[in-house]
Amino acid sequence: MTGKTLYDKLWDAHLVDQAEDGTCLLYIDRHLVHEVTSPQAFEGLRMSGRTVRAPEKTIAVPDHNVPTTEGRETKIDNEESRIQVEALDKNARDFGVVYYPVSDIRQGIVHIVGPEQGWTLPGMTVVCGDSHTATHGAFGALAHGIGTSEVEHVLATQTLIQKKSKNMKVEITGTLPPGVTAKDITLAVIGKTGTAGGTGYVIEYCGEAIRALSMEGRMTVCNMAIEGGARAGLIAPDDTTFDYVKGRPHAPKGAQWEAALTWWKTLKSDDNAHWDKVVTIRAEDIAPVVTWGTSPEDVLPITGTVPAPGDFQGGKVEAARRSLDYMGLKPGTPLTEIKVDAVFIGSCTNGRIEDLRAAAEILKGKTLAPGVRGMVVPGSGLVRAQAEEEGLDKVFTEAGFEWRLAGCSMCLGMNPDQLAPGERCAATSNRNFEGRMGRGGRTHLMSPVMAAAAAVTGHLTDVRELLAETV
């Protein structure tokens, strides 16, 4: 008999109902909510006289719109942003869901807050009106983004209508070389499979290099599963996971912890499970990577040169031409000659404590290159506090970076943190789309250490050269 994948097991454990045509109803254990994709859903509930079925499993936090500067708990200058944050405040209180307002130190990016508070646990189903919900897959939870209509559906029913996806295994064998990080793994995978390569699949990441990652690193990998087109990314839970979860405010305790642990340990793919697609990458073959274009699949090792449209085929030829024009790049230019105007360290991809530590390690005793502006936005109030306790804020501010309050910030520029037209940014975020960080802004995605290296030199830089200097 064919065994089950981890995804199969999570699916089976949450199946409420299956109709004759194969349409399934899946139970949702945790529903995370932010201010941008929820107002219409709550309004829908009001209009139809419905309530939130499980407010104790619904966690709301404002993150997309909030300014990252002081004084925001009393005043948000942009009126539309203020209205949206106030709407979440009212909805959270009216419907009685768990809520971390902007004045609470636990506020932050929803995908950082969930794991930090122990809301996200192995074996759960987790949804949010946000595509980067894939992050929570790092715990062996089935987690994915949904639209606002589905947010309303989950609020009202605590379930989601779903069709099962196919199973894809991404194995990273071996050991990552120095200077190569979880971000490089996830970008390298997208570079190999393309942004539609995962469409219709749930990806399970496995292999020695994945096992060796911390929970922070695993979250970075799963976070960008969506950029590869997959519904969700998963990593089977292990001792690294259990150690991270234990003692978190909403993690089970005592006898319940033991019971949970017993079940969690069964959450892995069987050896004889069926995979619809398998991708294998040697960790030793992954270099520090950066993106050159306007799609996350436009990935190259930092040692490469800007490609030409003729290097591609089909619809990608025109897309590459458009990207090069938008990015203001000439084919054949070494990537390390690309100068940057700004550096952004933060986001749900790389705004956790380990990311800040890694960037600070490179920046220690150094300063921003002349003319470069730098911004660090911790992923949550607690990440910020932890970083300050470790003195990381000093490293950043002494290097010339701005040290901001928690939020999504420049990753999507809904708040005042944006790039100016033509401005080029080394960013630790997840999307290099046209206009993503501000109209006309140019984004190069990379890891925190690579962003820190670019900050110091003023151009895209192979962080391994800086590491060699410090040895």
Partner: protein, 201 residues
């Protein structure tokens, strides 16, 4: 939800791959707390220049395509952010059907919740429809959901697949929250069992 049965209208060609939801509706328009009114900002940064003037080269600004109801596009349409503002903007503009070689998962789901029919077709068939769409306003395409066919302006018929449940909801304009609430007993049962098996959740 508005029903989708049969649609005959102008199809516009947008021959670009990886059209993401940031392109469909940029972030500054996500600050609304309503579903309506986003059509004017559909494809905002391609459609307007920095000062808000129309870009005459963008397809939806051309006289022949101002009343577009069907969009024919490149691979991986709707990738990126989960924002349902993307289908809201498309619908508000007047587009009820998008045809492409493939769609990103969340966008695809979001369409069906808003009375929009997304149709994935092999590249060769999309190429035929793209050519037909390039003819302009006098060429009208027909999309028949009941019979699952697309007919070009010169009578070429192309069949398409659609999930039966989603087809049913679109044809009838059904609210799926209402349908799920009919299964409240099954949800109650699941929750009781879960309280035993996984009390920590």
């Amino acid at each position: 939800m508005e029903k989708f049965e049969k649609l005959t209208g102008i199809a516009a060609p947008l021959d670009l791959v990886n059209i993401d939801t940031d392109m469909i509706i940029p972030k500054q328009y996500l600050k609304t707390i309503k579903r309506e009114g986003l059509g004017v900002n559909l494809f905002d940064e391609m459609r307007y220049d920095q000062d808000g003037n129309e870009n005459p080269d963008f397809v939806l600004n051309k006289p022949a395509y101002r009343e577009t109801q069907i969009l024919v596009a490149g691979d991986n349409f709707g990738c990126g952010s989960s924002r349902e503002h993307a289908p809201w903007a498309i619908k508000d503009f007047g587009i009820r059907c998008v045809i492409a070689p493939s769609f990103a998962d969340i966008f695809f789901n979001n369409c069906f919740k808003n009375g929009i029919l997304p149709i994935p077709l092999p590249q060769e068939q999309v190429d035929i429809l793209m050519k037909d769409a390039e003819k302009g306003a006098n060429a009208r395409m027909t999309v028949d959901l009941e019979n699952q066919t697309i007919t070009t302006s010169d009578g070429v018929e192309i069949a398409f697949e659609v999930d039966p449940f989603r087809k049913h909801c679109l044809l009838e304009g059904l609210d799926d929250i209402g349908l799920t609430l009919n299964k409240a007993t099954a949800i109650d049962g699941f929750e009781s069992k879960m309280a035993q098996d996984r009390p920590w959740v």
